[in-house]
């Protein structure tokens, strides 16, 4: 229930809360891509794509590397683990709460 590192947690959730950014992650799942190559999949401007990439980068989901004149982006799925932890926390939370409810109600009987 209690988050480990709220800032990191929020950055990941923010990163995947947008459909364009999720699509970018999908594209990068197929392998690394240049910023131009990613932008070619969308109708929006290149600066708009760069802005999305910056947020993905801030969340640690996208790694950018300079190669000559272009920037090559690749996926790093590791930070998504906070989402898994989040779900696991909830699982623990409810299972503990139910045990406690049982104890309380049965002792009252």
């Amino acid at each position: 229930m209690v988050t480990k590192s709220r800032r990191q947690h929020d950055a990941v959730f923010r990163a995947i809360s947008d459909p364009t950014r999720r699509e970018i992650l999908g594209i990068l799942r197929g392998g690394h891509q240049t910023v131009g190559g990613i932008a070619a999949n969308f109708r929006m401007s290149r600066p708009a794509i760069s802005k999305h990439l910056r947020l993905l980068h801030a969340a640690g989901l996208v790694v950018t590397e300079k190669r000559g004149t272009s920037s090559v982006c690749s996926l790093d799925a590791k930070p998504l683990r906070v989402i898994d932890d989040w779900l696991h926390d909830y699982e623990m939370f409810w299972s503990e709460s139910l045990k406690s409810l049982k104890k309380y109600v049965e002792e009252k009987q």
Binding site: M1, V2, T3, R6, D10, F13, R14, I16, S17, P19, R22, E23, L25, G26, R29, L75, A77, K78, L80, R81, I83, D84, W86, L87, Y90, E91, M92, F93, W94, S95, E96, S97, L98, K99, S100, L101, K102, K103, Y104, V105, E106, K108, Q109
Partner: protein, 152 residues
């Protein structure tokens, strides 16, 4: 305690309690009672519970960490969606943190001869705002699966 069943965005937990459903429903809906049981020693405990028990009524709760050296807390609030004592209680569950989607908690109580099966279903944990028609949570889960399997 039955094992948890977890689908993409839903957590289901079930337990059998030797008490009538009415007593359990009261423990769930009366803030004074909720404060007495909503805690797990050394893990977390509810400190403030408010509830306006009627459809559309608001509820809120504050949960603090009970771990040594951890002073963090989480506030949760929501709205009652269905109240059918002593069988059913549904409310929305929203954590007071940015970017967390609205989720739904459903309590089902089924009594047979004074013994009640209590099932809590927490759904929408990762969907709602996060999901779109073509990509979204399934993609994220797939990415995660790929990553975790690669590790092992």
């Amino acid at each position: 305690m039955n094992p948890a069943a977890t689908s993409e965005d839903t957590i289901v937990q079930e337990i059998t309690i030797k008490a009538p459903a009415g007593c359990i429903f009261a423990a769930l809906t009366n803030p004074e009672e909720t404060l007495k049981w909503w805690a797990a020693e050394g893990k977390f405990r509810a400190t403030h519970v408010k509830s306006d028990l009627r459809p559309g009524g608001r509820w809120s709760m504050r949960v603090v960490s009970d771990r040594t050296g951890d002073a963090s807390c989480t506030s949760v609030h929501g709205e009652f969606r269905a109240i059918d004592p002593p069988r059913l209680l549904i409310f929305t569950w929203i954590r007071d943190e940015e970017h967390h989607p609205e989720t739904l908690v459903r309590w089902d109580l089924e009594e047979t001869d004074g013994v009640t099966t209590v099932r809590v279903t927490h759904s929408g944990l990762t969907s709602e705002r996060l999901r779109t028609r073509h990509s979204g949570w399934p993609l994220i889960l797939e990415l995660l699966k790929t990553y975790l399997e690669k590790q092992s």
